[in-house]
Symmetry: C2
Subunit: 332 residues, 2 copies
């Protein structure tokens, strides 16, 4: 910047004003500065400005997902990006892999880079350490799952009702032996969806069978075999409720490979590509992933804009989309 000032024959103050667009500067000088910027190939150092600026704002956001490569989270990611982009804010993104320690490392790394805010899909770990940062001005929002240990803005899908609706739908089609395939209940979304499953059974006076509730350890790796195993049981389920997108995909593979796609019903939580092209079409509870991201972004920016009220919770509906697989009647 001082090279630019020298070349343009003005002071640092003037260059700074031109570069950051502060009003009071003569058009002629501005042009001279612009020209010098071009010639030198000057890149503004926004982080240095952040250090000095009164408000200390970095126009930078941190996003922490379970896995950036899961299509559900990457859609949330895009939702946030669209909101941030409109404000000239650029976003970090990282994957916790559901590991609280990894999540903590990411948070520390992002806060050390002085992000203005953090949007996180929380692991089951503790988040009280963020309280100090929030008190110091950090904007914070949770998405997909609520924080367990602290109060903060969050936006969620209506997991319980969505799951209840899915299972009630299967019951309405005559099923009584309905398997639940989902993550362990430590994950909030999984426990909510399990609660929805249970509520629907209760409503219909169907006793719960522990054998029908399964938690694949590694989703992509185990859900396939777990489903195949369930189908081979003495009294197999007549319907499956798969409560997570990767699990749905694996269960569908198992169903199709075992030749049961037309006699075992399935409803999945979260939509999957091609669900509509498959035979039968896959009935799902659809989440508005982009919407989750956009709302999380909006909650966050409202904090940065000065909102200082109590924590807000936005719950987006998760409607059932019937396509065939959920309307198969029980085969026995």
């Amino acid at each position: 910047m001082k090279d630019v000032a020298a070349l343009a024959g003005v002071s640092l103050s003037t260059v700074s004003r031109v570069v950051s667009g502060s009003p009071p500067v003569a058009p002629e000088l501005a042009v001279r500065v612009q020209r010098a910027v071009e010639i030198i190939g000057y890149r503004h150092n926004h982080t240095a400005g952040t250090l000095r600026r009164a408000d200390g704002v970095s126009r930078t956001l941190g996003l922490i997902f379970e896995d950036v490569s899961n299509p559900f989270f990457s859609a949330v990611h895009r939702g946030v990006e669209d909101i941030a982009r409109a404000r000239g804010v650029v976003t970090f993104a990282g994957s916790s892999d559901e590991d609280p320690e990894r999540e903590r490392e990411l948070i520390d790394a992002l806060l050390a880079r002085r992000v203005d805010g953090l949007i996180v899909v929380p692991t089951a770990g503790d988040h009280t350490h963020l309280l100090r940062d929030v008190a110091a001005g950090l904007a914070l929002a949770f998405v997909d799952r609520p924080p367990t240990s602290i109060e903060a803005d969050c936006v969620l899908s209506d997991n319980r009702r969505g799951a209840e609706q899915a299972v009630a739908h299967l019951i309405a089609h005559g099923h009584r032996r309905i398997a639940f395939l989902g993550d362990r209940p430590e994950v909030h979304t999984a426990s909510e969806r399990l609660a929805g499953y249970r509520a629907a059974l209760r409503q219909a006076d169907i006793p719960e069978e522990p054998d029908l509730i399964r938690h694949p350890r590694h989703r992509a790796a185990d859900a396939y075999h777990l489903t195949a195993e369930l189908l081979r049981a003495d009294t197999p389920p007549t319907a499956l409720f798969t409560s997570q997108n990767l699990i749905t995909i694996q269960a569908l593979r198992a169903l199709h490979h075992a030749g049961h796609k037309h006699d075992i019903a399935l409803v999945g939580f979260d939509d999957v590509p091609l669900a509509e092209a498959i035979e039968p079409g896959v009935t799902v509870v659809a989440q508005d992933a982009f919407g989750l991201g956009r709302h999380a972004g909006e909650l966050l920016f409202s904090r940065l804009d000065g909102y200082d009220g109590p924590a807000r919770r936005i719950v987006l509906p998760a409607p059932l989309i019937t396509r065939g697989s959920g309307e198969i009647p029980p085969s026995q």
Copy 2:
């Protein structure tokens, strides 16, 4: 930091050394500093350090994709993240939407935040403006597509050979009227895949029919109708080569809805979830998206580690995976 120094009763230098792990500091003082850090809730300001540090390294990377929410790119994203994570480097990510202007804005925003390197899926726009930044020490790598206007490291799938293989496979199954559905040739991957399509036709002495080469304007919105339209033509194609994942999904929908899934063959470029569960299974040319990301990360870090040789190009194979849809013989 000065509060920590005051509380611990040491100098700023000592706090800095403890916090950044520089060796020569007495264990007793280190403990006192650590304690003060805990009490105060001190967060290290890594960006301030970057400003002062001799090497000026920010341990920050910028990633620019066409769209972070496309599963192909989000897998590339994760590949880069895994490499970066191992080095304590955190990554920005953004979407260009194939718009050179938007890409330029993102690059400017990231360079203003002083990323150490940039990994970009380039739009068709000009990238010569990056030359100065590279000369000034920026590490740069392109992924999925090579840069058109400058020399730089890049990692690609073998698009041409993959496409040629796919089309040759269809020809080997007796097809002569094979449609190409893909992005406009301004996008490098699309033009390479089209070149592969043409090479396979030439090899088999099949004249090219312009009517069979189609470019949906908006992939998700138009590919479905374009496919349906092709199927309704007087002499419809007997096989489709869909050269992009979103287009493959839409074409499959159209094929299934029109009741042609068993009599029109299809091979897609890039794998899609459930491709295996569908009936018939979807034959595809598979890309190693994670591998593309990992290799791009490695090329980038080798530059940051001091490699200063000529630009390198890594080409990953894109093998054909046969699952049924590509082995359907021509129906007429």
